[in-house]
Every structure is written in C-alpha cells, then in structure tokens.
C-alpha cells in the first residue's frame, strides 16, 4: 500500500495475478527472458571473440554441424554473432531508454509541477526536440561524436525523451491538484520531497507502459545505425550483421534474414509486454 491517498495502486498480490493471466504479458515475458538468457550466457555458449574468423566462409545453416547457423563471408560464426549481438542490442536499448526516461521524467516533472514560465520554456523545448526527426538527430549526434557505444546511447536518449516528458508532465499537472499533495504541502514537505515521494510513484503506471516501447524503439534505432555502418566498430550488433550481409543478399540471404528475425522477435516480445502492461495498468484503455 502506498502512503498516499489516491488509491490508484492495487494491492501487489492482485497485480501479480493479473499479470500472470494476461496472455500478451506472459508470452512477451517468456520470449524476452529467453533472449536475455542467451545474451547473458553468450560468453559461455560461444567463448572467444565473435569477430574471430573460425569457419569456412559463407556456410549455410545446417551445412556444418559445428556452425549450425552458418558463417558469414569472413568465416565468422553467425550463431556467436547473434548471441553477442543480443548483448549489445539489449544493453544499448535498455541504457538508452533509461537515459531518455530520466531526462524526460525530470523535464516533465519540473514543468508539470511548477507550471508558469518554467513550464512554458520546458514545453517549448520538448516541442523542439519532438519536431526534429529522431533518427536524423541521432545520426547527426553520432556523426559529430565518435561512433562508440556511449555516444550512441547518449544520442538515442537525447532524441527520445520528449514522449516521456509529455506523459509525465500531463500526470504531474493533474496530480499536483490532488488532495494528498495539499496535505503533504501543509505538513511542510519540500517541493523535491513531494515530487519524488508523493507524486512520482502515482504518476508511474503510464510511464511503465511506455518503458517497454522505448526500449523497443531504442533497439530498432541502434539496429538502423549499425546497419548504416555508424555503430561501434568494435562491437558485433544485429544491425551491423545485417549491414555486412547486405552485399551477399543474392547468394547468402540468410546472413540478413537471421539477425533481422532476431531483432523482430526481441522487439515483438517487448511490444507484447508493453501491451500486457497497458491492459493491466490502464483499465481505461480501449481493449475488447
């Protein structure tokens, strides 16, 4: 039970059962867990550097039992690439989304809570960043900096915070007039405390739903970047694998198909989880 009086958070036991009964959530979580497991276990499943040339070049899946997903034109193991690529995609996706959430939550909370001129400026700022096409902004930032994982994460985070900011701002604007906030103010709580301890926990449900979508989008953006050759050159990512497989499209199209399928499956699982979360946490959503 939360210490606030809005009553928007159902008891944890019921929540867990609701999650378990939602087919989207369960299916998505299972797939996601499988992907995470592969990512975590990659160093054990495929010891060594995935960029090592260990096999005969361009083996088709099933041709060589040791390399059951085949090898690329340089003789690199595709299965190893997929496993290590999972690490990169998930790591970049999660951190970039976290960064976007952080920036967006702060901007939205400050603007929504304080209102007035601050809010006006922050709203303009949000609009500004929303107007610039996301992918182009990411490309520009990565081009100016060096194409390395931290820069990519920062670029995606910087380009994706506006959605969260709008959401959080809307929540704060409505919640700041709530009775429990007035009560907290009358008790002399500082603004920071009210924002962080009182309002934020109650503003979370729609934000939680958006999180999975943000991770999904971050993974797609990173894939696009590395496909274009703007990814971190030291890392094997699913996008870079698709990019490498491009020239071989006519003869060895599996090199493009497999990593793309991996992306699709992962993003699908995230979207399923997001849909499930939406069903459960937003009962007002139009689901039939």
């Amino acid at each position: 039970m939360t210490a606030s009086a809005t009553g928007s958070a159902p008891p944890p036991g019921r929540l867990l059962r609701a999650f378990a009964r939602n087919p989207s959530f369960v299916a998505g979580s299972l797939i996601l867990l499988a992907v995470v497991a592969v990512a975590l276990l990659a160093p054990w499943l495929f010891p060594g550097d995935p960029q090592d040339m260990v096999a005969a070049p361009t083996l088709w899946p099933g041709q060589d039992p040791e390399f059951w997903l085949g090898s690329d034109s340089l003789g690199r193991d595709v299965a190893a690439g997929l496993a290590y690529g999972a690490r990169v995609s998930l790591a970049v996706g999660v951190t970039a989304a976290a960064l976007g959430l952080l920036i967006g939550a702060v901007v939205g909370a400050v603007g929504g809570y304080f209102g007035g001129r601050t809010d006006l400026v922050l709203v303009r700022l949000t609009e500004l960043f929303q107007t610039i096409p996301t992918f182009i902004l990411v490309i520009v930032i990565v081009a100016i900096g060096q194409p390395s994982a931290p820069v990519i994460v920062a670029a995606i985070g910087i380009a994706s915070w506006p959605t969260v900011a709008r959401l959080v701002r809307a929540q704060f604007r409505s919640l700041r007039e709530a009775d429990f906030v007035m009560a907290a103010r009358s008790l002399g709580y500082s603004d920071l405390r009210i924002i962080a301890q009182e309002i934020l926990p109650n503003a979370l449900p729609p934000v939680v739903v958006t999180t999975s979508v943000m991770v999904a989008n971050a993974i797609l953006t990173e894939a696009g970047l590395s496909f274009l050759g703007m990814g971190d050159p030291n890392l094997v990512s699913w996008g870079s694998m698709i990019g490498d497989g491009g020239p071989m499209l006519r003869t060895a199209w599996f090199l493009t198909a497999l990593p793309g399928a991996a992306i699709a499956v992962t993003v699908l699982s995230l979207n399923l989880v997001g849909d499930g979360l939406n069903d459960i946490l937003n009962p007002r959503s139009l689901q039939q």
Binding site: L128, Q130, T131, P133, I136, V140, L228, I242, G246, L249
Partner: protein, 327 residues
C-alpha cells in the same frame, strides 16, 4: 470550412511554429560548433595548403575568428537569405544540393504514407468489425509483427523475394536509366521502382494506423448516434461508412501527421538500401564525407518539413471536425 476558421488555425500554428523553428536553428548552430576539428582544417586540407597564413585567411573569410554571438548572427543572416553554406565536398551551395534531392524523398514518403493509411485503415476497420473473433485475432498478430520488424529488414527481404527470386521488381534506383520513356510508360516505370521502397518504409506505419483505427472504430460504434442511424433503417454498410468511419478517422488522420518525423528518419535507411536518390542518401554520404554543412542543412530542412506538415494536419483536423472552433 469557412475562411475565418482556416485563418485562425493558421495563425495559431504560426505562433507556435516560428519559435520552434528558431530554436531548431539555434540548436543546429550549436551542433555545428561541436564538430571536432575546425572547419578550417577541412577547408585548408581541401585547398591543398595548410600554412598558418592561409588558415588565418580562411578563418577571417568565413568569420571564424569572431566570437560566438557574432558567428550566430552571421549564421542567422545567412539563413535568412536561404544560404546554408557550401558543401565541403562539392563546394556547391547546400541549399541547392538538398533541394535537388528533396522531391525524391517527398515522393517516397508520401507514397509510403498513402499506402500505410489505406492498408492500415482497412485492416483496422476489419479488425473492429470482427472484434474478438478470429479474423481480428489473426490480424492483431500480423499487425504486431509489422510493428516490431525493422522496416529496412523488410525491404531487404522484399528484395530477396521480389527482385532476386521472382524478378518482378527492381531492387535499386528510381527509374530505368537511359530508356527515354514518356507518358503512361514513364509513369508505369517510375511506379515499379517506387513499390518496394514504399512497402519497406510503410510497414511500421501500417501497424500504427491499423491499431489506431481499430481502437477508434470500437469507441465510435459504441456511441448512441450509431443506434440512431440504425433506427433510421440504414444499411449496416452505410452506417459504417457515413457515420462510424467519418468520426473514427478524425483521430487517425491527425495522428498520421505526427509521424512525419519518423517517416523521414526511416527514409534515410530505406533510401540507402534501394539506392533511392533522395535526401536520406545525401545525409549518409555527408556523414561519411564529414560534410557537416550538408548534414545540418538536411536536419534543418527536414524539421521544416515536419513543421509544415503539422500545420497542414492542423488544418485538416479543423476541416474534418466541426466541433473545433478557431479560438
């Protein structure tokens, strides 16, 4: 729609758009300052001589020896004359380069958008009509797959299927080179090249519009005025078309405009795959060639496209929904 309502909506859009555009311009300027290495190094390197005097001269010529404020003013005044600087690689004005490529990108974007809207709305409509039954469930899975699959991968797989295996459609370019076609043949030829790139670009958006249309239709069909329409003895199809869809499409079409930014971003990758001669490929070439003038020019112009299309969508919304009064 009355002229006065149109004017009011336009005024409202301009009031918001101008500060946003200004902000983006300032942001672009700041990004330009962050470019590592002086632009002078690049220019000097191109000119073939990098002595201290030449670099000083270049610096003074481009006003790079002045303070930040002066340079910003310089930038803004140049912009006012539609001068985005010159391409470092080609020496030609950025404005020229980018505008030359803009039509191709717009063509691709608009055809993808059109296709996505039609396919998405029809799919969403079918899903709403059969809500809860198996056609709806199947389509929901398909839509979710479209939503999760990277567009560029769909494009590549489409090339494998339609170009390589079946040989039906071309895999690169925007028109057959050298074949001097006219009239219908020309259009048909251009259309053939447009199919696969548009398809690749549109899949994500088909999913978005399908979901939106489904949700919107379900909400509308539960409303009282649908029962009133039925009570008048109208055929279900008439009710769907004239009453339900007409209302349900309002949020869909307005949302359509908000995704222009994503569409532009997606175009970058799709153009690369299909060798489509648009702004996206220009952007990528600019990245590789460290041609930041061009890159930022593209950023500016694409943001402008987004602003203009948002304004158009606002007008469309006001036209579709008579409840929107121009305040």
């Amino acid at each position: 729609m009355s002229l006065s309502r149109s004017a009011v909506a336009l005024r409202r859009t301009a009031a918001q758009a101008i500060p946003t555009m200004l902000g983006i311009v300032v942001l672009c300027f700041l990004l330009l300052q962050l470019v590592p290495g002086d632009a002078v190094d690049v220019l000097a390197g191109q000119a073939g001589s990098a002595t201290a005097e030449t670099m000083e001269a270049i610096r003074r010529q481009f006003g790079l020896d002045q303070g930040l404020g002066a340079r910003l003013w310089n930038y803004l005044t140049h912009l006012a004359r539609l001068d985005l600087g010159n391409s470092v690689r080609f020496g030609t004005p950025v404005t020229e380069l980018v505008l030359d490529r803009l039509p191709a990108t717009l063509l691709l974007m608009l055809s993808a958008l059109g296709f996505a809207l039609v396919a998405g709305i029809v799919a969403g409509w079918v899903m709403a009509v059969y809500a809860g039954r198996w056609p709806d469930r199947i389509l929901q899975v398909v839509v979710l797959l479209f939503y999760s699959t990277p567009g560029f991968w769909v494009g590549l797989m489409a090339i494998v299927l339609f170009s390589v295996k079946l040989g039906w459609l071309p895999s690169s370019g925007s028109a057959t080179i050298g074949a001097a076609l006219t009239g219908m043949e020309y259009l048909a030829d251009r259309a053939r090249y447009l199919v696969l790139p548009s398809l690749a670009l549109s899949t994500f958006f088909i999913a978005i519009y399908a979901r939106l249309t489904r949700a919107s239709m379900l909400e509308v069909t539960g409303q009282d005025f649908i029962r009133t329409a039925a009570a008048k003895g109208l055929h279900p199809f008439q009710i769907q078309l004239r009453h339900a869809l007409r209302n349900a499409l309002i949020p869909v079409t307005t949302m359509a405009g908000l995704h222009l930014g994503n569409l532009l971003g997606g175009a970058v990758v799709v153009e690369t795959i299909f060798g489509w001669p648009g702004m996206g490929r220009l952007a990528l070439d600019a990245v590789v060639g460290r041609d930041f003038n061009v890159l930022l020019g593209i950023l500016l112009l694409s943001s402008l496209v987004v602003i203009v299309s948002n304004a158009l969508v606002d007008q469309l919304h006001a036209w579709l929904d008579p409840r929107i009064e121009g305040h």
